[in-house]
């Protein structure tokens, strides 16, 4: 008996033990969804989430009886989440179940305030956050005018009522409590908040029920709840500032200072920049200029010149603003100052930019040059120049741009730039000439001064419309450009002869110059899709360029005009072009073929002075042309691209080439224009292949172009020896029969060891063949130029980067009538550099270039070793300071060399420039410096 009783009780005890201590490893969870009226809720989304991180474990849909069941799931702590469009979401914490079946029986869902769902989510398209019974509005999606109060904002929130007195209610109940960031604000009256606080400061509005004050105090929940509103304040607008300032001083009186500061928020950017130095930084660098212009830096490509051939032929550009980027060419010493400010506004629909920049440069250099001029037969003469150049330039520039996107199919861009510049220049040049026997014959001393003031306006408007039909579009543009120059030129030359019998000749003249160029232009473009792949384009271009130029020459100190050197021109170039392009575009193949009828009308009138009778008859020269155009671009599989283009460009002669009046700024070299010039007609073919491998980051590109120019404008040279004057060269532009040019270009970059060692190779070959008249003999001058360069870049570690490379150029000039004058000259340079972070926050950077310039027929051989090195250290708490000690040109060897050849003239020049100096600088960077080596420059 005892035993009989014992066994079942033992079993019972055991069972209860197991049940309590060891939950089943896998369970089934089931339940039924019902609304508050006990109706079943079908098709609700039921999700089982991991309680620890809300990750989704399993999900299902409730059936038509509102039932759901998760079978055979791991027994652990879950969050059960039930979601249905018409009910407030339910979230339930499920503890591990003691039984195999965890029956939740009935889960009740409260109907959502459908008005909220409908009005907020559907009508206002605003995300609505519902947590339990808190409803949250995203204030930023409800637009209120600037300066509005919170009350104005609340009036716009669906589901919230604000009466005339400012009382707030929601879901039929008054809002009795108001918090700002969860804290009471100005006492208890909600109106004190809503009437005083600005709407702009609010990011979210939350509405929920809170236990009454009474129940909070007593701790007894009396069931009464108060509607409560919480206003969440915005984190500051997306805004910030960055900037840098640096000051440097060195030996040889070298100094440099610069500063830039940018402020921005989500819609606008404001920047300031300023610099001053005497280390040949004549402007800002591209990187700083990019930051200065901010998101407007890439807007200079607005093109209003529609149709093919945009860069060929006619001067048909909407010129970009003259940027204050450093353009030092390597000659002389400069002292530079500049400052500017830029403002950008961009709210995606409207973009506005305005900037102002002032810069000035004082440039001084001494240049020694040697030049040989080859004449017909075996004749040649030599010339040694010693030039002292003193040049001052300054300019004020204002640039504005406005872009409005009215809707997705209408867009307007308006640009206007203004620039006022001054230039004062003095050149003192001592020239020594030989005669045909290369014996020194005479010396010419030139002392010329030029003072010039120029103002320039460029403006353009472009409007684009996209039609409903995809691919159909219309665009129209208009532009006005003007350029006015006023200046005085003083020429002073003394021609002395080594044979004492020839008398010295002196010329002293003053020239007043005035120039006014006006351009009016307009273009229209219409595109019609013939199918999804074929498009037909029609375009029309018009421009009228008026050039009025006046030169009045006087003997120095005398008011009597020198008629032979004075002239007034009024020239008009009219350009009309009507064309069409048929384009095929599908799956990587883009091909277009186009034709245009163009007409170039040139009218040129000239007289002695403005208002005096014209010398010539008013005749308009008319050059109608039919120009074809072809463009093929094909993208192969594997990132290979092929381009083929053909164009026919007709370009009008330059104004200066048309003016047949002598300019005696250099009596030994006189340029006289030719009013009989006709337009050049060039046919150009270009072919290119490019390949890029994204997995190895290697690339290769080849380009070849070939051109034939009919009636090329070439300067004929005529040099004659006259015992009374010495050598005098006259240069006049002439149309020749035909010239050709050929160019090729290769570029490649590939890793030898991935991410460590990279090689870059580039090379090119250019040839041209131009008939040139030299002393009345027609010479065929062939010039060839080859260049090749390579660079190895080795990243030893993140702290050490080395590179070594070199490049060279070789030029050949061949004359068919005087082969003994053929020229060969070459230049090459070997480069190496190191960037090394040798201790934390300490860097060593150095580069060494060895340049060689050679021309054997001149016995010219010059090499320049240029070695720069610097050590810098980053300092300060947040790496905000940097001090740098730099040495420029350690060997003190720097000089600027130039080798050139032009027609029958070959020469070399040597100009002084900045040589060795030491410099210590300190820079402050608001954002702090990167404590590592900059590796790449892909941006």
């Amino acid at each position: 008996m005892k035993f009989k009783l014992f066994l079942p009780s033992l079993l019972l005890a055991l069972m209860s033990y197991f049940v309590q201590a060891q939950n089943p490893t896998r369970v089934s969870i089931k339940g039924t969804l019902q609304d508050t009226l006990h109706e079943a809720i079908p098709f609700a989304t039921v999700m089982l989430l991991n309680n620890a991180d809300s990750s989704l474990v399993n999900f299902l849909s409730s059936n038509d009886k509102g039932e759901f069941a998760f079978n055979n799931v791991k027994n652990s702590t879950y969050l059960l989440k039930v979601q249905h469009m018409s009910f407030l979401p339910v979230q339930k914490l499920l503890q591990p179940s003691a039984t195999i079946l965890n029956n939740l029986s009935v889960v009740t869902m409260k109907p959502i305030s459908t008005m909220l769902m409908e009005v907020v989510i559907r009508a206002a398209k605003a995300p609505l956050r519902i947590k339990g019974d808190t409803v949250e509005y995203d204030a930023s999606t409800f637009k209120v005018p600037p300066g509005s109060t919170v009350e104005d904002l609340l009036r716009r929130l669906p589901g919230i009522d604000v009466d005339a007195d400012g009382n707030i209610s929601t879901q039929g109940k008054d809002v009795t409590r108001m918090y700002v960031d969860g804290k009471t604000f100005f006492g208890d009256d909600p109106k004190s908040v809503t009437k005083n606080l600005g709407a702009e400061a609010i990011s979210k509005v939350q509405v929920y029920n809170e236990k009454s004050e009474q129940s909070k105090l007593t701790g007894v929940d009396d069931g009464s709840q108060e509607k409560t509103m919480n206003l969440e304040l915005k984190e500051e607008f997306k805004k910030g500032a960055f900037g840098k300032a640096s000051l440097a001083g060195g030996t040889e009186d070298r100094w440099a200072a610069r500063a830039n500061y940018n402020r921005f928020n989500d819609k606008s950017q404001l920047s300031f920049i300023g610099y001053g130095n005497n280390i040949n930084q004549t402007g800002v660098n591209w990187e700083d200029y990019g930051e200065f212009k901010g998101n407007n830096a890439f807007n200079n490509f607005d093109n209003g010149d529609f149709g093919f051939n945009r860069n060929g032929g006619h001067m048909f550009y909407f010129s970009s603003d003259d940027s204050p980027v450093s353009n030092y060419d390597g000659k002389g010493l400069t002292e530079n100052y500049g400052a500017g400010t830029n403002f950008n506004f961009d709210n995606k629909k409207t973009k506005f930019n305005a900037s102002y920049f002032y810069n000035q440069t004082q440039l001084d250099f001494d240049q020694k040059s040697y030049q040989k001029t080859y004449l017909d037969g075996e004749n040649a003469f030599e010339q040694y120049d010693s030039l002292v150049n003193d040049d001052f330039r300054s300019s004020h520039s204002i640039a504005t741009r406005f872009e409005q996107e009215f809707d997705s199919s209408n867009k307007l861009i308006v640009k206007a730039n203004f620039r006022y510049s001054l230039n004062n220049n003095n050149k003192i040049n001592n020239q020594q000439f030989s005669d045909y026997t290369l014996e020194p014959y005479n010396s010419l001393k030139l002392d010329n001064t030029t003072d010039l003031a120029a103002s320039k306006i460029t403006s353009a408007a472009i409007y684009r419309h996209l039609f409903k039909k995809k691919g159909r579009s219309f665009a129209i543009s208009g532009g006005y450009n003007s350029n006015t120059n006023d200046g005085t030129e003083n020429y002073n030359s003394i021609n002395k002869f080594f044979e004492a019998t020839t008398p010295t000749e002196q010329i002293q003249q003053m020239i007043n110059t005035g120039k006014n160029v006006n351009e009016l232009k307009s273009s229209v473009l219409y595109t019609e899709p013939l199918s999804k792949k074929i498009f037909l384009e029609f375009f029309y271009n018009f421009s009228q360029l008026t050039n009025k130029s006046n030169r009045q020459a006087y003997p120095f100190g005398n008011e009597l005009r020198i008629d032979s050197l004075s002239s007034y021109y009024d020239q008009v170039t009219m350009y009309n072009r009507l064309g069409s392009v048929l384009r095929y575009s599908y799956n990587g193949l883009n091909a277009s073929v186009g034709f245009a009828m163009q007409q170039l009308k040139l009218t040129g009138l000239y007289s002695l002075d403005e208002g005096l009778p014209w010398y010539n008859e008013n005749v308009t020269k008319d050059y109608p042309n039919f120009t074809p155009n072809l463009n093929v671009n094909y993208e192969f599989k594997n990132n290979m691209r092929l381009d083929l283009a053909y164009s026919n460009d007709i370009s009008a002669p330059d104004f200066n080439d048309l003016q047949p009046v002598k300019n005696l700024s250099n009596p030994s070299y006189q340029v006289i224009g030719n009013p009989d010039l006709i337009p050049e007609n060039a046919h150009n073919v270009e072919f290119g292949v490019h390949y890029w491998n994204p997995s190895s980051f290697s690339s290769i590109g080849v380009n070849v172009n070939y051109g034939i120019t009919k009636n090329p404008i070439v300067y004929s040279q005529s040099s004659h020896f006259d015992p009374k004057t010495g050598m005098i060269t006259t240069s006049t532009p002439e149309n020749m029969e035909q010239g050709t040019n050929m160019g090729s270009w290769l570029w490649s970059s590939m890793p030898i060891i991935k991410t460590k060692l990279t090689i870059d190779i580039n090379g090119g070959a250019n040839m041209s063949n131009r008939p040139t008249r030299i002393n009345d003999t027609l010479n065929d001058i062939k010039s060839q130029n080859y260049n090749l360069g390579s660079n190895l870049n080795y990243t030893a570690s993140s702290k050490l980067i080395l590179s070594v490379g070199g490049s060279g150029g070789f030029s050949k000039i061949r004359y068919n009538k005087s082969e003994m004058n053929n020229q060969d000259y070459f230049n090459y340079v070997i480069r190496s550099s190191i960037k090394w972070q040798f201790i934390d926050r300490m860097f060593f950077e150095s580069n060494f270039n060895y340049s060689v310039f050679k021309n054997e027929s001149f016995n010219f051989d010059q090499s320049i070793p240029l070695w720069n090195a610097s050590v810098r250290r980053i300092m300060g708490k947040k790496n905000k300071f940097e001090t740098r000690l730099a040495v420029f040109d350690i060997f003190n060897q720097n000089v600027n060399i130039n080798q050139y050849a032009f027609n029958n003239i070959v020469g070399t020049s040597k100009t002084n420039t900045l040589a060795r100096y030491f410099m210590l600088s300190i820079t402050y960077n608001m954002k702090g410096f990167e404590n590592k080596i900059q590796k790449n420059r892909f941006m």
Partner: protein
């Protein structure tokens, strides 16, 4: 005077209409068009191994004008889905220039639990046959409407690509499909936001109609056959290499 809105009247009507749509929106079948917006500057901004200053600089200079829009399609029925690029141009006025179409499709069969993807990666075509492993979603609390459907949101953290993704899935379209690599939720994913706007996919047109050939994949496709693990490995290697060179990893790889 307080505005009086007959809340319960509206509620009743709306409730009815919701339930009606809820009832008939069982297992949708059709085609969803997504507007795919890629923001280059924001993609750059999310590459943590590139110096902060460089990323901030590109954001400052390009932030507002580095978006590129295209259309993509998701075809689906109760058991299958296929995601691919659309022929249609989304960028206004970009007609008249066409880039080469690369092989790209992502097929999911939820019944067999298999996937078949054809993807061009770094200039090579890969064919991936594998079983489906849904991403590890975290369910969040927000609700909003996308293309006429009430959606709730979920998030995903991709440690390989360093991407934080928020998606919105429709409560009334109970199929686990979604665009691109994103699927495996109780409803069709109608919006995707990767790294705060670097890539956004938004359903802008939903055509519910029986699909036929839309779900087919091209029969003859040349490409290297690999598994999902091998594919992820390829991406991992590329990211590692680009990281060493301090260059963005997403050139030649779909973000």
């Amino acid at each position: 005077m307080r505005k009086y809105i007959p809340v319960y009247t509206i509620a009743f009507i709306v409730l009815l209409s919701f339930q009606a749509t809820g009832l008939k929106a069982q297992k949708p079948e059709g085609t969803i068009r997504y507007l795919r917006t890629q923001n280059w500057a924001k993609m750059m901004a999310s590459v943590d191994y590139i110096s902060k200053q460089q990323r901030e600089r590109s954001m400052y200079m390009w932030g507002t004008r580095s978006e590129w829009k295209t259309y993509t399609h998701l075809h689906l029925n109760a058991d299958e889905s296929k995601y691919e690029n659309s022929e249609e141009e989304a960028e206004p006025g970009s007609e008249g220039w066409s880039n080469r179409k690369e092989t790209f499709f992502m097929k999911r069969n939820f019944k067999d639990n298999t996937l078949y993807d054809g993807i061009t990666l770094l200039g090579k075509t890969y064919l991936i046959h594998d079983s489906i492993v849904p991403p590890k979603w975290k369910i969040m609390n927000d609700m909003k409407e996308v293309a006429g459907h009430i959606c709730m949101n979920a998030s995903l953290n991709d440690t390989l690509r360093k991407q934080n993704t928020i998606v919105w899935f429709a409560l009334d379209m109970p199929v686990s499909a979604g665009p691109d690599r994103f699927f495996g939720l109780p409803g069709v994913i109608l919006e995707v936001d990767v790294n705060n706007g670097a890539l956004i996919l938004t359903a802008d047109k939903i055509d519910l109609a029986p699909v036929t050939t839309e779900l087919d994949v091209p029969a003859k496709i040349k490409g290297k056959k690999i598994t999902m693990t091998e594919y992820d490995k390829l991406i991992e290697n590329q990211i590692k290499e680009r990281k060493a060179a301090e260059e963005p990893w997403f050139w030649g790889i779909s973000y």
